[in-house]
């Protein structure tokens, strides 16, 4: 029985490793291709590893086609950093009210938030565009979309806050703390892991977003990274050497974040699944 089990585990393991290898092919192939010169990339059968290793695609792609990746990275950060921080603040405040204060209309309001989670974002693109028309070609619509808090983030914060013992609030009340101060100096410090998870989650969403920039941003100097990459493909549709290098650029911040905060990435999804 034990031996049979061990064999099954070994087989599972071998299979999983093979599947994991297949799973990262698109990703690895992108990196390998980005390191090959143009003549090699368009050869058939393809070479597995670059025969002629080159970084020229990267230097060429950084500034090609009137697009400037340095500028676009700046723009993406100018959008993502304030959007994420404000989103976390406003969402956690709302969640605090839902989890910790009794007031009339609470359950109804909370239901309104929860139902908004399921709403397809594509649906409301046109009215959102009309509403934000005065701010076309600025970062305002991109930040405004998340800075007031996302229903989903409110929901997850609230679920976590509910697990923090209420006695802490009562003790603080006796000490004369205001509600706001309880939120900031008791609840938030106790919620650090969730805050980290949701920061990663919101940042990734804003940084990866392509639709909002597509609709709201017009001039090249205001392009975010994702919009820039799409426009890059519009110019160099068949230059896969440059395209792969440019794509790798856009992955770097997310990959770095993923490696640094892998735990929080995965944790976020677990929360969404089990408490949804």
């Amino acid at each position: 029985m034990v031996r049979k089990n061990r064999l099954a585990t070994a087989l599972t393991y071998a299979f999983l490793c093979a599947a994991a290898l297949v799973d990262i092919i698109p990703f690895v192939w992108m990196i390998l291709s980005s390191l090959k010169p143009q003549s090699e990339i368009f050869s058939f059968p393809p070479s597995l590893l670059p025969r002629q290793f080159t970084l020229r695609n990267y230097t060429a792609a950084w500034n090609a086609g009137g697009l400037n990746f340095a500028r676009m990275f700046m723009n993406s950060m100018i959008v993502a950093v304030p959007a994420t921080s404000l989103c976390i603040l406003s969402s956690s405040l709302a969640a605090f009210a839902f989890a910790r204060i009794r007031f009339s209309g609470r359950d109804f309001l909370f239901m309104c938030f929860v139902s908004a989670i399921m709403m397809p974002t594509m649906m409301v693109m046109i009215p959102t565009f009309l509403l934000m028309r005065p701010f076309i070609d600025t970062f305002v619509p991109l930040i405004a979309r998340v800075m007031f808090g996302l229903p989903f983030v409110v929901f997850l914060f609230r679920q976590f806050f509910m697990t923090i013992p209420r006695e802490l609030d009562d003790a603080a009340l006796v000490d004369g703390y205001s509600k706001l101060r309880i939120w900031w100096s008791i609840i938030m410090p106790l919620s650090k892991p969730v805050v980290a998870t949701l920061v990663v989650f919101v940042f990734q969403q804003v940084y990866n977003d392509f639709l909002y920039p597509l609709i709201f941003i017009n001039s090249k100097s205001n392009f975010t990274v994702q919009l820039g990459l799409a426009s890059f493909r519009g110019i160099y549709a068949t230059r896969y050497d440059l395209l792969m290098a440019a794509s790798v650029f856009t992955l770097v911040p997310i990959l770095a974040l993923f490696v640094a905060a892998q735990r929080y990435f995965v944790e976020g999804v677990v929360m969404t699944g089990l408490k949804g």
Binding site: T9, T12, L16, A19, D23, I24, I25, P26, F27, W29, M30, F44, P45, S90, S91, L93, A94, A97, R102, F103, F113, A116, M119, P120, M122, M123, V124, M125, I126, P127, T128, L130, L131, M147, F148, G149, L150, K179, Q204, N208, F210, L211, V225, Q226, L229, R233, Y240, M244, S247, V248, T250, L255, F258, F265, V266, V269, V270, T272, G273, L274
Partner: protein
């Protein structure tokens, strides 16, 4: 006195809620209502001021629009293929990951990774794998002695090809399934073992019933997400070849933001909303028959 404190607390609560209620109104509910309202107007190119035209947009959409029926078909086919594919794939991988194996956390991260990558780079990377002459997949096909395929440049293959990317992107489902599997009480499995159930019987009669709430959640979310597919059409195919990847969201984008018919685009949005709502309601209604919640008495 306690009343005064209650009122003070309520005020604090409303203050805390101000930012997110603003967001909820202006980002979600007001646009949602406006989209229904706008769909009854002619507004955009050729009509600078909105003009009420009743149901004309809908009549045009269902009777004369050359793209609408195709876009409905490809959206539903894509969503069904992707949802079925990713549910099977992710449950399977999650079950394998649910054993005691070395480096499980690392493997889980590997399968999850595609989900967090920016979609634009993902689609561009895949378009290179799918490339008709020099792509890696065509190299694999040539090794098998098969003819080269054009994948996303072939009308018959574009939807299955994009669905395969969709399945690959479903790492979030794996993580959720895995967390669910870890919550299946061990005692059930042990009881089944004592009763002499083999591993398939245990999967069928213990794992699956315990997992139904999570299967339901994943099914619903995967369906809503995949119905909204638009990025590959915008980034790679422009709805082609022919109309074979003109997803309904792409049709909406095209009407509203390329052709500048905001009213007409809103009617596409509304129809899209109704379709998603119908799917959701059907799922919820059937769920009564197959989703088991613990302590449900079932």
């Amino acid at each position: 006195m306690p009343n005064k404190r209650k009122r003070k607390e309520a005020t604090a609560a409303y203050l805390c809620l101000i930012p997110s209620i603003i967001g909820l109104i202006f980002i979600t509910y007001l646009p949602l209502l406006s989209v229904f309202a706008l769909s009854f107007f002619n507004w955009g190119s050729g009509a600078p001021d909105p003009k009420f035209i009743g149901l004309d947009n809908y009549v045009r959409l269902f009777t004369t629009d050359p793209y609408f029926l195709d876009s409905l078909r490809v959206t539903v086919v894509f969503a069904v293929l992707t949802v079925i594919g990713s549910m099977i794939y992710s449950l399977f991988i999650a079950m394998l990951l649910n054993r005691k194996i070395p480096a499980r956390g690392f493997l889980r991260a590997v399968f999850y990774l595609p989900y967090v990558l920016p979609s634009m780079a993902v689609y561009i990377g895949w378009s290179w794998l799918y490339e008709a002459n020099f792509g890696l997949f065509n190299y694999f096909l040539s090794l098998l002695g098969a003819e080269k395929m054009k994948f996303i440049a072939d009308g018959r293959l574009v939807v299955p090809s994009l669905a395969l990317i969709g399945v690959w992107l479903s790492g979030n489902l794996i993580v959720i399934f895995l967390a669910g599997l870890q919550n299946v009480p061990r005692v059930y499995h042990e009881a089944a073992l004592i009763d002499g159930a083999n591993s398939f019987q245990r999967f069928r009669h213990v794992t699956i019933p315990c997992m139904t709430p999570i299967i339901f959640y994943n099914l619903l979310m995967a369906l809503i997400n995949n119905m909204q597919i638009v990025t590959p059409a915008l980034a790679l195919t422009n709805g082609g070849p022919g109309n074979e990847s003109r997803f309904i969201t792409y049709l909406m984008y095209q009407s509203a933001f390329i052709n500048n018919h905001l009213g007409y685009g809103s009617s596409v949005s509304t129809v899209f909303f109704v379709i998603i709502a119908i799917f959701t309601v059907i799922l919820f209604l059937t769920s009564r028959n197959w989703v088991f919640y613990e302590g449900d008495g079932k």
